[in-house]
């Protein structure tokens, strides 16, 4: 799916960051926040406006794990696999998610672009282990069953939103 990138959005982001090439990381962060990933089309645009090469920007975008060059789902589910979460059985939760959403370590986003599943190494909420976040909302003391319920809840939410349209 081609993401439609609007010039005025990029211009706003560039203005906010002072159109400065040394701000490339925060510019990419803002773009990712807007589109949930960094669309391919922005590279040549940024290269021209910031007088940088596309290869350099690509180098920055691929250096940081946090940047994604692939479209992500509406719900980004992060499952913590830090030490505390791991010993309190985070892996069965991850496996449940993979099975339910037909995803894997390589394929992390569903075809309908609803869900993306990622692992993180610590969310800093070890007291609530095992922890899952959905678009930065934290769900503590998770189990595989609770995860299925959470997924259903999210699917309902989508249906609801679509009916209202």
């Amino acid at each position: 799916m081609e993401q439609v990138v609007e010039t005025h959005v990029l211009e706003e982001i560039l203005d906010k960051n002072g159109r400065n090439k040394s701000s490339i990381i925060s510019i990419l962060q803002d773009i990712q926040e807007k589109y949930r990933y960094i669309p391919k089309e922005v590279f040549s645009y940024l290269a021209e406006k910031l007088d940088m090469s596309t290869a350099k920007i690509y180098g920055v975008a691929t250096f940081y794990e946090n940047f994604s060059l692939e479209a992500k789902g509406r719900y980004i589910i992060k499952i913590c696999d830090g030490t505390a979460c791991h010993v309190r059985k985070s892996i069965p939760i991850l496996e449940t998610l993979y099975k339910e959403l037909k995803l894997s370590k390589e394929k992390i986003t569903t075809d309908d672009l609803l869900f993306t599943v990622e692992t993180v190494s610590c969310l800093g909420a070890c007291g609530l282990a095992p922890v899952v976040t959905v678009n930065d909302k934290v769900y503590g003391a998770m189990t595989p069953d609770k995860t299925i319920a959470l997924l259903n809840e999210l699917r309902e939410e989508v249906k609801h939103a679509e009916n209202e349209k």
Partner: protein, 565 residues
């Protein structure tokens, strides 16, 4: 001021403004190995081969250490030798080791250092990745399995050429050198200058080799193989085949080419003479009308590509003259058009971008290019070696008629400032020998990246700039656009030092490039014809072959993006 010293292997060495300890060590006669250090690029400190041990047993990279009085370092301790060997072994662990079939074999730094350090076995498993070669560009071939991530190519492309076609992408063990989204080189903004290949210590980036096609043509009795040799080739080829003194060995090149079976042999400087006349006419016309100034020179195909990519608005300021190679290519094809054989025009160039220039649509008639093949100096060296002919023992011979000897002005095209000097000789009212002598000291000669001069012209003064290295050109363009600087004529050559420093030449440092330049100026001094317009061959061309065809054969209009590199 008192002299300051530091101790290198217990020997005092005077510090004379060296930028880093490495340069001081090399000055002291120790050839400390490096992969990632080039004095003209920024210091990167990645390869760690230049490490030295200080008196407290600390280990530091000498390339990124500033020399200070009283410093004491050791360059050859058991620990350092162990580390260097380990580094080489680790590099070899994920490196392709098929040396015999590698294009770089014999000139590869990794091969050389493995030999120097006596690496007889690599203790680690070979984890070479299976990555495809990128042969899409006409100029260079990339083989990532031979990359050691020294970053020389990246810094060259960015710092010296301001192109940035390639960079480090991904991270850690996944790190590679690549274009954005791993597009092939042909689709990137690469200008084809090949300087990345010139600094690549291994075979990861090499100049595309077209020698096989030439041997095939030479063996075809139906083909008439006509060859032209660029000015810069004659002062560099001997570095690999004989002496390193930068002397002109054109006669030997002609002799060796004839022995190899080339049918007609000419000098691209004749094409340069045509360029001088055409470009001067164009310059004077533009001056008269005061339009599309400054006039940028158009001899360098990497510069043309750069302008197309980054400054399409400047294309109208670039001279419509074809490069000397293309002018002469068109003249040769025209001259031999009634030949009963298939005419093949080969150009021997110091340049990789010329390969892409020859393949451009603008220089083809019904799909047939004016110049069929471009060989770099390095490829010619390989062909000479393959032929078994002993270059050093060749008796010099002269080029063929009807194009004969060029003027001295055409020969100096090979060095930065040469085009400008040739044009000034034509424009200047004063045609005396003294004028030529003073001109040599007017600031157009020398290896500096940016040179400026002004000469009187009638009532006016002409302001002229000479740049080599595209990053230098970029600075100048910005100064012109901001109104800070004003020029009438600007000579741009992509490679530092001009064509003599082209990526198709044997690798040379600044000093060696200066020697090559001197070699060309010496040839100019020894030429009886100093000015292009005095060359009788050129005069007869205008009265004959070129009559009514000047525009068709000698000029071109670059339309902008969309051309392959």
């Amino acid at each position: 001021m008192r002299a300051e010293f530091m101790m290198i292997d217990d020997i005092p060495v005077e510090i004379q403004g060296e930028k880093n300890v490495l340069e001081l060590i090399r000055k002291a006669g120790i050839d400390l190995p490096t992969f990632c250090y080039y004095s003209e690029l920024s210091v990167y400190g990645a390869c760690r081969l230049c490490v030295v041990e200080n008196k407290w047993g600390g280990i530091e990279a000498s390339c990124s250490t500033i020399p200070k009085a009283g410093m004491e370092v050791y360059t050859n301790t058991p620990r350092l030798r162990k580390y260097r060997k380990m580094i080489l072994e680790l590099i070899l662990a994920n490196h392709c080791r098929d040396c015999t079939t590698c294009e770089k074999s014999g000139t590869c730094k990794l091969q050389e250092l493995a030999m120097r350090f006596g690496i007889k076995e690599v203790r680690f498993e070979n984890t070479k990745k299976d990555l495809p070669m990128d042969t899409s560009s006409c100029c260079i071939v990339r083989d990532e399995t031979k990359c050691i991530l020294c970053g020389d190519c990246v810094r060259m492309c960015d710092e010296v050429q301001n192109v940035g076609a390639i960079d480090f992408v991904h991270r850690g063990s996944e790190m590679r050198i690549g274009t954005a989204f791993h597009q092939c080189m042909a689709k990137s903004n690469c200008v084809g200058c090949g300087q990345c290949a010139a600094v690549c210590p291994t075979g990861a980036i090499v100049v595309k080799n077209d020698t096989a096609s030439i041997w095939k043509e030479l063996g075809d009795p139906q083909a008439k193989v006509v060859v032209q040799i660029a000015p810069a080739v004659r002062v560099a080829i001997d570095e690999a085949l004989g002496q390193k003194n930068g002397k002109n060995v054109m006669g030997k090149i002609v002799a060796v080419l004839r022995r190899m079976g080339f049918n007609e042999i000419f000098d691209t400087s004749t094409g340069a003479d045509l360029t001088v006349l055409e470009e001067t006419n164009e310059f004077l016309k533009r001056l008269e009308k005061n339009e599309r100034l400054p006039l940028f020179t158009s001899c360098c195909p990497a510069w043309i590509k750069y302008a197309e990519n980054k400054h399409p608005d400047l294309l109208q300021n670039i001279s419509t003259c074809r490069s000397p190679m293309e002018m002469f290519g068109a003249v040769l094809k025209e001259h031999y058009k009634h030949s009963n054989k298939r005419v093949v025009v080969v150009a021997i160039m110091p340049c990789t971008a010329k390969k892409a220039e020859a393949a451009r649509d603008e220089f083809k008639v019904e799909g047939t290019p004016y110049v069929d093949y471009v060989l770099t100096t390095q490829e010619l060296i390989q062909m000479v070696r393959e032929s078994g002919l002993v270059f050093d023992e060749m008796e010099p011979e002269a080029v063929d008629m009807p194009f004969g000897a060029p003027s001295g002005a055409g020969v100096i095209f090979g060095v930065t400032g040469g085009v400008t000097e040739a044009v000034i000789r034509r424009v200047a009212d004063d045609k005396s020998i003294n004028m030529l002598r003073t001109l040599a000291f007017k600031g157009v000669r020398g290896m500096e990246g940016v040179k400026e001069t002004s000469i009187p012209f009638g009532e006016q003064t002409l302001h002229i700039a000479v740049v080599s290295g595209l990053a230098n050109a970029e600075v100048l363009i910005q100064q012109i656009k901001s109104g800070e600087k004003h020029y009438d004529l600007i000579e741009v050559m992509a490679c530092p030092g001009g064509c003599i420093g082209g990526a198709g030449q044997p690798f040379a440092d600044r000093e060696q490039k200066a020697k090559r330049g001197q070699g060309l100026y010496e040839t100019d001094r020894m030429s009886s014809i100093k000015r292009a317009e005095e060359n009788p061959v050129i005069l007869s061309l205008y009265q004959g072959l070129l009559k009514g065809k000047v525009h068709e054969l000698l000029h071109v209009e670059y339309k902008g993006k969309g051309q392959k590199s």
